[in-house]
């Protein structure tokens, strides 16, 4: 215990330990913040994708990537009828409404998509809407009319008829300068989409949200399912730390106790432990995990269990055994036996504490290796099906050919976080190694 505290106090002399600790504390802090702000259930819900993300662009770059590149790509704009000046003319049995949705567009790039979300509060008779697009230079495009269901999504970008008329995809054609030169130029200024609504019920109300999807989003960008990658990057921290820590604790503690028991009892118990270890060492871990994932379950907890189970009889047993064998013969153990200490007490209180200080660095360095293992499994498609993790993000990036399409951020941000985690624990671990293994220290 004293040796432990002393060692921790000496840690302050190593800048690498302080940097490592700072990284670890930052990660732990962010993890706590994440779990508090985005509760587990909400994270799972968000990561399932779909409706919560309909206002988000597909495969948008992070904003800072765009800024570094010196571009001014469009961000997503939502123009709501709630902020618009609505002209309303009631008539018997209904009303006529004119909803102008106006916005200033000043980005140096075309939006990635254009959608109009309409909701209507009618009971029986569906209102009718006619859409007119007006550009800053006064040109008008009739985007057609339609009857409205209670919830309607008008995908202007996928209006083939409009595309044929414009000669370009609508979200480009509607924002381009009139000149027919290629490539098209963005026309900056005030755009207006006017909705002429005829409602056939007196208190039916129509609301509209025009979404001009940008090409950049937030700090992390979005993926092919419009999900904000920030959710996965943030939630990846607690998942990775928990997995790494639990696996490291689980394997180290069991391995240590088993190694100590083998050394203490000797004889056939030791022989069985040694043979099991030798067999287990040559069993390849990753293929076994792939088999479990394919045939049984890819739940992260099942994987954790298998990782720990395979880690019990690992090479660590050989190392601990070599360290414990001389301790078994030491006089203080003999003294303990002579005053009647039992086997469990000798193993847990007299043998293991003796090598604990030496194990702490190994343990700290072991944590990121399990974090990487979890990421590798997810990358191989064996990630937890519901949890957002870094490995899952990279797996998605791979299946969506992110690098081919130039979405570097999709691969690099989870990879950077993985490396940061590894770096933090490694820097701390190496410093601890120097503190607790004096032979590494130059005196």
């Amino acid at each position: 215990m004293r040796q432990l505290l002393d060692g921790l106090r000496r840690l302050g002399q190593y800048p690498s330990a302080l940097v490592g600790l700072a990284i670890i504390f930052a990660l732990v802090g962010t993890a706590v913040f994440t779990v508090v702000t985005i509760p587990y259930g909400q994270a799972l819900e968000l990561w399932r994708g779909g409706d919560p993300w309909r206002m988000h662009p597909v495969n948008a770059r992070p904003v800072w990537v765009d800024r570094i590149a010196g571009n001014n790509s469009p961000r997503t704009m939502v123009v709501s009828s709630r902020d618009a000046l609505i002209e309303e003319e009631p008539f018997v049995g209904g009303s006529r409404m004119r909803i102008p949705l106006e916005f200033d567009f000043g980005y140096a790039g075309f939006p990635s998509e254009l959608n109009l979300f309409l909701t209507s509060t009618h009971v029986e008779r569906e209102p009718f809407v006619r859409l007119t697009w007006e550009t800053p230079d006064g040109r008008e495009f009739i985007l057609g009319g339609r009857r409205l269901a209670r919830e309607e999504r008008v995908s202007i970008s996928q209006d083939w008829e409009l595309e044929r008329r414009l000669g370009r995809v609508p979200h480009v054609g509607l924002f381009a300068e009139p000149a027919d030169d290629r490539p098209p130029q963005v026309l900056e200024g005030r755009y207006r989409l006017t909705l002429d609504v005829i409602s056939f019920e007196e208190d039916a109300r129509v609301d509209a949200d025009l979404v001009v999807y940008g090409r950049v989003h937030g700090l992390a960008g979005t993926d092919h399912q419009r999900r904000d990658l920030m959710v996965a990057l943030l939630w990846g921290i607690p998942v990775a730390l928990a997995f790494g820590l639990l696996a490291a604790v689980g394997t180290t503690v069991t391995t240590l106790v088993i190694a100590a028991a083998g050394v203490w009892y000797g004889g056939w118990i030791d022989a069985v432990i040694q043979r099991l270890t030798e067999v287990n060492i040559i069993l390849p871990m990753l293929p076994i995990l792939v088999m479990v994932g394919t045939l049984y379950s890819t739940s992260i907890w099942v994987m954790l269990g298998v990782v720990i189970a395979l880690g019990i009889f690992s090479a660590g047993i050989k190392m601990y055994r070599a360290m414990l064998l001389p301790i078994r013969e030491s006089p203080y153990i003999e003294a303990a036996k002579a005053y009647g200490a039992g086997n469990a007490r000798i193993i847990l209180r007299y043998m293991i504490p003796r090598i604990l200080p030496v194990l702490i660095p190994t343990f700290v360095i072991l944590i990121p290796s399990f974090v990487f293992l979890e990421a590798s499994l997810a990358l191989l498609g064996l990630g937890d099906p519901v949890l957002p993790t870094w490995g899952k993000v990279m797996n998605d990036a791979q299946t969506q050919s992110a690098l081919y399409h130039g979405f570097y951020y999709w691969v690099l941000s989870p990879a950077a976080l993985l490396m940061l985690t590894g770096l933090g624990f490694a820097m701390l671990g190496f410093a601890l190694d120097r503190v607790f293994n004096p032979r590494l220290r130059t005196m």
């Binding site: 006089p331 003294a335 303990a336 002579a338 009647g340």
Partner: protein, 336 residues
Amino acid sequence: MSASIREVRTSATGPVLSVRDLHTWFELRQWGFLRVGSVRAVDGVNFDLKAGEAVAFVGESGCGKSSLARTLLGLHQPTRGEVIFEGRSLGTLDAAERKAYLARVGYVQQDPYGALPPFMDVRRILHEPLIVHGVRNRAERDQRAREALEEVRLSPPEDFLSKFPHMLSGGQQQRVVIARALILRPAMIIADEPVSMLDASVRVEILQLLRSIQIDHGLTLAFITHDLSTVRHFAERIFVMYAGRIVEQAEVNELLNHPQHPYTQALLTAISDPDPDNARQQREVPSGEPPSLLKPPAGCRFHPRCNRMIAGTCDQEYPPDLEPRPGHGTACWLYR
């Protein structure tokens, strides 16, 4: 005065420890299963210890005296024979009784630093035996730890309770080891070369401490050493061991003044004696080495080195226990 109290105790009780025909053999195996022989570390030992007496076991390295100590402590299983403590044979005790026996016997080891767990402070070291023996009350454990430290003259105890072994000098470490041996209030203490790893300057202090504690508490002290010179001051009886057997036993002065066995005589010649005349005379020391315990010589174990060997007898049959002088036993054919 304390001597007379001891006399009373000695006469009031019978032997506290009796050892009968004790054998401790270590099997040697080849390839893990083939038995190729046994190391006969203890090979037929008999003796009685009276309550409150201090005895010394003397012999060369490898004569089996440490194995004997460990067998008495239950650290080795005897191959044959019996150890009878306070009237009960160790072999017949169940687990709880065995544990109670271990509380009655304290153990002081040779290497004081190795004998103390380096990661525990003195308080914890002294608490451990009490915890093992079910003293749950922390205040009581603290109280007894203090008493034990006072007993070994480490005072004030507060200065030592929170120290770790490496912060103490060799002599202090050995005092802590003795305190640990005393803390369960044993009836007997086995000290296995308690001073051989200590500085010459503290040896006498530690031996005097052991002796005074032994006298104050009326303990039985079995004191294992290879150093005959110090024994006379700290023991009442001496057992001389050679190659796993006791070859001679007597009261200290009787044995030192009238050694009977040729081996004892040789041992006594080997004691260094600060006399300038020694520079000019060659002492007679038996040639050769102690025999292999794996294949001890037939007959008397000492006969290959003995200068008074009787051919045809000493190399044929092991000598019986004889008593050439009253209260003085030896196993040697010379006294038949």
